[in-house]
């Protein structure tokens, strides 16, 4: 086990360097840089000031040299500052000599995205698991068919279309939920409980929209997994032994069907920190998706690289944890590995 762990950890470093190199090169494929924004196309501005900025950010140097400089900084975990908003650190906050704290861009955007994604994942598990089980147990009969149709619809709806329609229905036709944003105006004056309810109301639609595709995918996956397992010999044996049905379903079938789910979760980790650009843009949520999108359009290289690097690192760690969890959970793998 330890050897496996060391092997994986060892591979992570070259992988990360590889990912960062590919990302850096793709980024520089793009024509333009931070000085090509719409705001800088103003006849009152001068080309020299843009040239000065390019020199300041080393944008006039060869790409490989720029990558080297970035890599050198990264070795001390210094993600640098945004090109667009010079003082904002890309990752974590900084305190200047007077004690003023400037928060990092990723530091501010990540919690929001993480919250939405985690809640969304919870919702998915809470709904998709029962749906998948019911579907498998009533295979090809009405409940299965209708759940399947419902799941497919959820999978196929263009998310921004659904988002706008729901925003209209719940926010304009009726005033059940707020339309966009994270907090109501003046929310800080409310009691803690009321503030919590206010936040939840703002997050309800984004969570629903983010989770819809995952919901469909996971219910289908659980259904198919359960079906696979239910047809195995040991299930027939268990039934022949006279075990009550719910023991057969939950203790034996479900547990085994869920094992591959762990791998799925590992694979959905990049999605966890990569907030949906579309949902965040529509709902005015300042998360990682919006941060990345704006950075791409403005060619804000440090922010782009920061997000891609952190994202990849978290993904690799997530995959490793998922694999470890699987290995621990599946007694066959666990026993086999330690031999």
């Amino acid at each position: 086990m330890l050897k496996y762990l060391m092997n994986r950890l060892f591979w992570m470093v070259p992988l990360l360097v590889g990912i960062s190199l590919i990302s850096f090169l793709i980024m520089h494929l793009a024509p333009g840089d931070i000085t090509s924004t719409e705001a800088s196309f103003n006849p009152k501005t001068s080309e020299e000031s843009r040239q000065k900025m390019r020199e300041l950010y080393n944008l006039d140097k060869p790409v490989i040299l720029q990558y080297g400089l970035w890599l050198k900084r990264m070795s001390t975990l210094d993600f640098g500052h945004s090109f667009a908003s010079h003082q904002s650190p890309v990752f974590w906050q900084e305190t200047d000599k007077d004690g003023n704290v400037t928060k990092g861009m990723i530091q501010e955007a990540l919690p929001v995205t993480l919250l939405i994604n985690v809640l969304s994942l919870t919702l998915i598990i809470a709904i998709a698991l029962p749906l998948g089980v019911v579907s498998a147990l009533t295979q090809n009969r009405l409940p299965d068919r209708s759940i399947t149709i419902f799941v497919f619809i959820g999978f196929a709806i263009p998310s921004f279309w659904l988002a706008l329609m729901l925003m209209y229905w719940t926010g304009v036709s009726h005033t059940w939920l707020p339309i966009s944003g994270l907090h109501s105006l003046g929310a800080e004056k409310l009691s803690h409980v009321d503030q919590l309810v206010d936040s939840l109301k703002h997050l309800a639609l984004p969570i629903l929209i983010s989770g819809l595709t995952g919901l469909a995918g996971i219910s289908l996956f659980v259904r198919n997994g359960m079906l696979d397992v239910l047809h195995q010999d040991y299930i027939t044996t268990a039934r022949a032994k006279g075990l009550p049905e719910h023991t057969v379903v939950y203790k034996h079938a479900l547990r085994n069907a869920l094992l591959p789910l762990i791998t799925i979760f590992g694979l959905s980790i990049p999605g966890l920190i990569g907030g949906s650009v579309i949902a965040e843009s529509i709902f005015a949520i300042p998360g990682m998706g919006k941060l990345f999108y704006d950075a791409v359009l403005m060619r804000d290289f440090p922010v782009i690289m920061g997000i891609l690097t952190i994202g990849s690192a978290l993904t690799l760690i997530g995959n490793l944890l998922a694999d470890l969890a699987y290995a621990w959970a599946d007694p066959r793998v666990r026993k086999g590995v330690s031999q």
């Binding site: 793009a30 024509p31 333009g32 090509s36 924004t37 705001a39 800088s40 196309f41 103003n42 006849p43 009152k44 501005t45 001068s46 000031s49 843009r50 040239q51 000065k52 010079h86 003082q87 200047d96 007077d98 400037t102 928060k103 501010e108 929001v112 709904i127 029962p130 089980v133 019911v134 147990l137 009533t138 706008l164 209209y168 304009v172 005033t175 059940w176 339309i179 966009s180 944003g181 994270l182 907090h183 105006l185 003046g186 929310a187 004056k189 409310l190 009691s191 009321d194 109301k201 719910h246 939950y250 843009s281 529509i282 709902f283 005015a284 300042p286 919006k290 359009l297 403005m298 060619r299």
Partner: protein
């Protein structure tokens, strides 16, 4: 038959109950739809909050450092300049109560108003103005706007209420440049690195409003400044919510969560008139903007170096159709690169009428005919076909489609390519690798257009990217920069526009209207809007107490 697992039922019940509770809790907080009488007259009073929406978030609240419009929109409520434009677009004093230009036209003396204060009670003097000038001209300051101010040879503040600048040459755009420089407080910024100062996230200014809070990614709030140098504003709080998506903004406007938004033509001309429930609570305004949209030719490439081809294309495009189709009539045709109705716009000039026959005749004279009868004009065996490049802007895309159709009718084959902005600038504009572009210029009120039309401004990165070169225009532009007498300047720029129209290096398409929509609770707005737009007297707007939105409060 399998039994439905009980645990499943429990889980689903729990979920549904939670949703129900949240929904009910929401229903309770519905705003009372009491009949608000929005149409009667209310006396002016102080108080209330105005909520509007911004698509982008400022990076920095010091306008000279940041480039985006969202930055200057907020900073414009916090800071003062020496001069400003009044409702008729004439220069008048803001921090300065008067100014004199010396006989040799090289020195301007500004006399500041007495007893000016910053929001933090410190006195505002010419020292602050001098400090600001030093900062914007400092080579270490990362600002793109320093060029105008670096032309000042000498700047002095001999006493707290006088500020004197001396230029090497008479510089006509100078006064306008002093209407655009936000004066910064020396006592808070001296010794700080302007590029990295926390002041940019909580600034202190001297105008009607002062900074209150900034919730990153959500909103920026300003509150009334009791020390405001220009008097007291009526509305207590200004909140700008950051809502990137315009569809979401419109939904918020309909749900009465924001008070103002700028509409597009279809919302203004088709949706509102069809929705009495919207027009009952929201008022629509119309103000001519400071920008014009144009079709620009790459004058260094054939066939655009031939004036007959350019004029022909000008005749072939039906500009009124574009205004009617793209703007639903909410725009004006232009014949000079200036805002219609201002003194710089030459009233004698008329845009090229829609005359396809004349276009065909001109092209024939230039050697373009349909020799091979394929429907496309050709010359020397080469068809007259090119690509129109534009950026991702709905109006421009739609205009391009209309232009394409009209040109096709006279036998010119046009393709349209929509390109993302940064790529557009660096791959096509800077390199000069384009044939025709469809873009716009958002100009200020200063008539000098040296940077756009003078032949010396054609280097990559500069603004004469179409490659225009006319010796007479060059001289006029140079003279216009040095002539401070407004009437003489006017003649110079009228002549400039006349030559430009004859040369037709660009086809002027239209100048569009801005279409702000304001909730009727906001009173005191001038309608119809004066030349400066409805915002010129924003400090006089008020929200009567019975109409204010319910503020959140602790129960």
């Amino acid at each position: 038959m399998q039994q439905k697992p009980n645990r499943l039922r429990l889980a689903l019940n729990a979920l549904l109950s939670t949703l129900l509770v949240i929904t009910l809790a929401g229903c309770e907080q519905q705003k009372p739809q009491a009949a608000l009488d929005l149409n009667r007259a209310y006396p002016s009073e102080s108080g209330g909050t105005l909520v509007d929406a911004m698509s982008g978030e400022p990076s920095n609240l010091i306008a000279m450092m940041a480039g985006e419009s969202s930055s200057s929109a907020i900073a414009g409520n916090i800071f003062n300049s020496l001069l400003k434009y009044d409702k008729n677009l004439e220069l008048t004093g803001e921090l300065a109560q008067s100014w004199e230009v010396s006989a040799d036209q090289k020195t301007i003396t500004f006399n500041l108003k007495p007893n000016l204060k910053w929001a933090d009670d410190q006195p505002l003097t010419s020292d602050d103005v001098l400090f600001t000038w030093k900062t914007v001209t400092d080579d270490n300051t990362h600002t793109p706007y320093g060029a105008d101010y670096k032309l000042v040879k000498k700047a002095e503040a001999p006493n707290p209420s006088t500020f004197i600048v001396t230029y090497a040459q008479p510089y006509a755009p100078a006064l306008d440049s002093w209407s655009g420089l936000h004066i910064l407080p020396k006592h808070l910024l001296a010794g700080q690195d302007i590029n990295n100062t926390p002041f940019s996230r909580h600034p202190v200014g001297s105008h009607y409003y002062q900074f209150d809070t900034w919730k990153k990614g959500e909103s920026i709030s300003l509150k009334r400044n009791p020390n405001a140098t220009q008097g007291q504003a009526k509305i207590d709080h200004l909140v700008s919510r950051i809502i990137p998506d315009r569809a979401a903004q419109f939904l918020e406007l309909m749900a009465d969560n924001i008070d103002s938004m700028s509409l597009n033509s279809i919302q203004y001309a088709r949706i509102f008139p069809a929705r009495p429930d919207l027009t009952a609570k929201i008022a629509q305004y119309k103000e001519l903007g400071n920008s014009y949209t144009y079709l620009g030719f790459n004058l260094k490439r054939k066939p655009f170096d031939d004036v007959r081809v350019r004029q022909a294309i000008n005749y072939a495009i039906d500009k009124q159709e574009i205004i009617d189709g793209v703007l639903l009539g909410l725009g004006l045709p232009v014949a000079s690169p200036y805002k219609p109705g201002t003194r710089w716009s030459n009233p004698k000039l008329q845009p090229y009428p829609y005359d396809p026959q004349k276009a065909i005749a001109l092209l024939k004279a230039a050697g373009y005919e349909d020799h091979d009868h394929d429907g496309i004009l050709d010359h020397d065996g080469k068809p007259l076909s090119f690509e129109i490049l534009t950026n991702q802007n709905k109006e421009r895309e739609m205009s391009a489609v209309l232009v394409q159709r009209r040109l096709k009718e006279i036998g010119i084959d046009v393709k349209i390519r929509v390109v993302e902005w940064a790529t557009f600038i660096s791959r096509f504009i800077k390199t000069g690798d384009f044939n025709v572009v469809l873009l716009g210029w958002g100009l200020g009120l200063e008539p000098d257009q040296f940077n756009i039309w003078h032949s010396s401004q054609q280097a990559p990165g500069q603004f004469n990217f179409i490659g225009y070169h006319n010796a007479k225009v060059d001289k006029l532009l140079e003279a216009g920069r040095m002539e401070l007498n407004p009437d003489k300047r006017m003649k110079i720029y009228h002549e400039f526009a006349e030559i430009l129209l004859a040369d037709s290096p660009v086809v002027y398409l239209y100048a569009g209207y801005g279409l702000p929509a304001m909730h009727k609770r906001v009173k005191g707005i001038d309608d119809p809007a004066p030349p400066a737009g409805i915002g010129h007297n924003a400090y006089e707007w008020y929200i009567p107490a019975p109409l204010r939105r319910n503020e959140m409060s602790a129960e």
